[in-house]
């Protein structure tokens, strides 16, 4: 038994270094940050919010730049935030992505399973068109969100100006 434990102890540095090695093997992800607004609210009247134009700050990780999911975080100017995680690229497409995520308003809620996101457009701002890549530091993103904020039947469009902050040359 003692001999077995000694062998196990000898393996400890390897066990510790394995997760670190895996972490280092992950590609560096470019994170976009910026802000914009929410508009075109539909079906949200009964909740009282959002109704008009809402200012937001935002962060975005695009799946195509490394990782298994895309992630969008919206921080509302009035307080509170939503996170959206979906298995799809941040690319203009007619499909709706199922979203997992969280809602914070005073406390933390699960977003539920009914929220969906659709990428309406991606532009390499200030120009029109283009696609997210390692060489696209600045983008304008438009996305439609169903069951926004976990509110059943409430849909909004987010229009966001975003810039990579953690990539050389950005």
């Amino acid at each position: 038994m003692n001999r077995f434990l000694k062998r196990l102890r000898a393996l400890r540095p390897l066990v510790l270094s394995l997760p670190l090695a895996l972490l280092a093997a992950l590609p560096a992800r470019a994170e976009y940050m910026g802000g914009g607004y929410l508009s075109d609210a539909y079906g949200c009247e009964r909740y009282g919010w959002p109704l008009g134009t809402e200012m937001v700050r935002a962060r975005l990780n695009a799946r195509q730049l490394g990782g298994w999911t895309s992630e969008l975080v919206l921080n509302f100017a009035v307080g509170g935030s939503n996170t959206y995680r979906f298995r799809g690229d941040v690319t203009q497409a007619p499909r709706w992505h199922r979203v997992e995520g969280a809602v914070v308003w005073g406390r933390l809620y699960d977003l539920g399973s009914r929220t969906q996101i659709r990428i309406l457009s991606v532009d390499l701002a200030p120009y029109s068109g283009g696609a997210i890549s390692e060489h696209a530091p600045t983008i304008r993103l438009r996305a439609r969100i169903r069951n926004f904020n976990g509110l059943q039947g409430c849909a909004v469009t987010a229009t966001l100006m975003l810039n990579t902050w953690d990539q050389p040359g950005s």
């Binding site: 910026g34 607004y37 009282g48 929220t115 304008r140 059943q152």
Partner: protein
Amino acid sequence: MTRAMARPGRRNWARLASLTLLALGCGGGTALAETEFLGGGFLVVKYDSCAEYGWTGTHQVLARLAPQGAPGNPEDQTQIALLLSTGTIAFRYDNVRRYRYTQTIDEATYVWNGPWSPEEPTMNFYYHYVGNIPSADDTAIDNLVLVFNNFNEHPGCQVDAYLALRRN
């Protein structure tokens, strides 16, 4: 959250009501019925030109814009407020609707600690030739790129503001 919001109990309605009040309070920042655009984007320092003043990289920003000539607004003064995470920059200028024309800022107030309004602001900017120029009859200004010089009154500090805004 979905379930909670789908069938709101009393507590949820209370929260939604307070949210609505909050939203109304934030929207009601202006005394007159002026035409205002709300949105945000980012500021990015160019050529590391502001490092000596402590400014580097990208900054999230919220923004308000009241274009001249729109209902309730002055005829000869456009107002922009840049709401940064830790301070605010607000300024007025007479909008010359030309690309790459240096817009003269008539009044600027910087709120980092106490409002400071210089006699003659040295900060100026021009519109990026691909982006929008605000006008009174816009619905959305989704591609507004302001190319600043002497940003925040720092000599030689060059910052670009990329903004997307929509009429409130």
